[in-house]
């Protein structure tokens, strides 16, 4: 791994460039965990970090990094290594559970038992400003016919929020949060920040949306720091197989706080540029 790493640095120096120090730290952590990268992949990772810092080719204005607006981002570039795929851009690790498959396309779940726990115990935050995004390769509808691919849950068996058409309009605490999902095989963004698909917490109550788009509230058993965690994957819950068992590669997943609608769209563009650079922006 050290040899490969050294050659990568040499490649950059030969081209007159340099790795962003946080991109370098991420690459080293990934390689230590078992990933291997060629120069193109390192370029893609480096540009992702530069873009998140507002210094990249696809975003030279908004700093999502030092402002901490992007709290976590899993690039899911660990190849066959589960440990590498667990690592996020800030070198935190999540946990994979169930029958996942790992390769250069991303991470592949199944509709029965797979989920990923971000191990994100957010504390002391104001409500209403959480967002999340993910990039997956394809969609299938849930049993109700609604898109049903991303969600935030409180425990591995309780879904608090899922991606779905939202009607009626969300109350204010929810309306400020949002999410998006984008298919690699499609050219249009299927959801944007304007809707509310994320669970949000206000005081001891978590606002959610149920299968019939009815606004629910969930009494948080922990009235202290917010215990909400973020999960993605296919939980056998509430409405059918969540994603196709043969086409549901997750290619990125991220959690934001306090981003505007415009900024969320920018993150989508950054994500798409990243996936395109890796050659995995298609189904």
């Amino acid at each position: 791994m050290k040899i490969g790493f050294g050659l990568g640095i040499s490649d950059y120096r030969l081209r007159g460039g340099g790795l962003d120090p946080d991109a370098l730290a991420f690459i080293v952590a990934e390689e230590t965990a078992g990933a291997t990268f060629d120069a193109n992949q390192k370029d893609a990772i480096n540009n992702l970090f530069l873009n998140l810092k507002g210094q990249g080719p696809d975003n030279n204005t908004v700093d999502f990094w030092t402002t901490n607006k992007v709290r976590k981002w899993w690039p899911l570039v660990g190849g066959a290594s589960s440990a590498a795929n667990e690592i996020d851009i800030r070198l935190n690790a999540g946990v994979f559970n169930g029958g996942w498959t790992f390769n250069n396309n991303g991470v592949l779940g199944n509709p029965i038992d797979t989920y990923f726990n971000s191990l994100t115990a957010f504390t002391g935050e104001a409500t209403g400003d959480w967002g999340w995004g993910m990039y997956i390769s394809d969609f299938v509808g849930g049993a109700s016919g609604e898109w049903f691919n991303g969600y935030i849950i409180y425990s591995p068996s309780v879904i608090l929020s899922a991606y779905r058409t939202f009607n009626p309009a969300a109350p204010a605490p929810i309306a400020n949060s949002g999410s998006y999902i984008r298919s690699g095989g499609m050219t249009t963004i299927l959801d944007t920040f304007s809707g509310a698909r994320s669970a949000v917490r206000q005081g001891g109550t978590v606002y959610t949306v149920n299968n019939n788009s009815v606004i629910n509230t969930f009494v948080d058993p922990d009235m202290g720091d917010c215990p909400l965690d973020f999960f993605f994957g296919s939980i056998n819950n509430a409405g059918g197989g969540i994603v196709s068992p043969t086409a549901n590669y997750f290619k990125s997943f991220y959690i934001t706080y306090g981003v505007t609608s415009t900024e969320m769209e920018l993150l989508q563009q950054i994500d798409n540029a990243f996936q395109t650079a890796l050659g995995r922006n298609t189904y």
Binding site: S82, F96, G98, I112, V158, T208, N236, A238, P245
Partner: protein
């Protein structure tokens, strides 16, 4: 995808343990409350403490358990 049925006791034994690299077992219940593990977990299990998992046969169709929230 097929699953194998296991006992509740076996499910409890598996929970919290790694079966492949850093990935954890995640037995789930189906609509009839059978405990199940998916075919891919059986195929990939490398945890010799639970070698019996590799002997399981995933020959059951999984029946989704719906949970109302």
């Amino acid at each position: 995808m097929k699953v194998a049925h296991i006992t509740e006791q076996q499910a409890e034994q598996l929970k919290g343990n790694i079966y492949f690299q850093s990935v954890f077992f995640n037995p789930v219940q189906d609509a009839d409350d059978n405990w199940c593990i998916s075919e891919i977990v059986i195929q990939k299990n490398e945890n010799t403490d639970f070698a019996w998992v590799n002997e399981l046969v995933a020959d059951k169709e999984y029946k989704l358990k719906k949970i109302n929230i």
